[in-house]
């Protein structure tokens, strides 16, 4: 039975990965990352259940806190980026590129 949960977690993680890599909408990217983190949470919970150990649960709890802080920072960044550039297209922000650097 636990392997189903683990497989589910793996599936969620991979969906999140696909979403984070292939989408350009910053919101969707954000949520994909959330999804990946939650997949980890699921794994932790499964292991805690299988081992009868609260450590995993606690870690998952802490991870939820991390997710929350990540959400705060990410969302505020989206707000800022949107305010300055009027877009939430990830491909619009190309400051890392070698050509466009002033």
């Amino acid at each position: 039975m636990p392997e189903y949960y683990l497989a589910l977690a793996a599936l969620l993680f991979c969906i999140g990965l696909v979403g984070a890599v292939s989408r350009r909408n910053l919101f969707v990217i954000y949520m994909s990352i959330e999804l990946m983190l939650n997949a980890i949470n699921l794994m932790l919970a499964t292991f805690a259940r299988a081992q009868n150990d609260h450590g995993g649960t606690v870690m998952a709890l802490l991870l939820i806190a991390v997710i929350a802080s990540e959400a705060a920072v990410f969302l505020s960044m989206i707000i800022t980026l949107f305010r300055t550039n009027r877009t939430i297209d990830a491909d619009f922000f190309t400051n890392l590129s070698q050509e466009q650097n002033p």
Partner: protein
């Protein structure tokens, strides 16, 4: 048996919601789908006897985070013209999925080989009391650190969103 049935139903929602999230073009639809998935996930936690986690997930992930996200979506007033039209979205999704496939297979393989199984657990398991006991005995320092992290994240959120305002000034 019922457990298994619930598991499959929740899985259906969870996977469906996730897929819907990454495939929907509009931010609001995406977050609605995501909310669905998160609720399903908290159900899965409940299935795993993690009642505290279930609560936390509902409260934080669904209640706080997604609401926050929706709030942001609404507050920045994302109109269709501001969201990218992503003409090659399907192609990208398909291609990236193909790339992810080996990794997924690897994960499934590993998961299948895990030498673990569910046994009966004490009634304490996963309850607020049980988890709290562990949290405040063995995990105090991480817990405090996470609180600092939250504080820092809050400050960061405030500063970033404030600074952005006069960026183009």
């Amino acid at each position: 048996m019922i457990e298994q049935g619930i598991f499959w139903i929740l899985t259906l929602f969870l996977v469906g919601g996730s897929l819907g999230m990454i495939t929907s073009r509009h931010s609001v639809f995406a977050s609605a789908n995501f909310m669905l998935a998160m609720i399903a996930l908290s159900g899965i936690f409940a299935l795993l006897n993690q009642s505290f986690l279930f609560l936390a997930q509902i409260l934080v992930a669904v209640g706080a985070v997604i609401t926050l996200a929706l709030l942001v979506i609404v507050s920045v007033n994302i109109h269709q013209r501001y969201t990218p039209d992503e003409p090659n979205m399907r192609r990208w999704l398909a291609g990236v999925s193909l790339l992810v496939l080996p990794f997924f297979v690897l994960l499934i393989n590993t998961a299948g080989k895990m030498p673990i199984s569910f046994k009966d657990v004490p009634a304490e398991f996963g309850t607020v009391r049980g988890v709290g006991a562990t949290l405040f005995s063995d995990w105090v320092l991480p817990f405090e650190l996470v609180s600092i992290l939250l504080l820092v994240a809050m400050l960061a959120a405030i500063i970033i969103s404030r600074r952005g305002g006069d960026h183009d000034a």
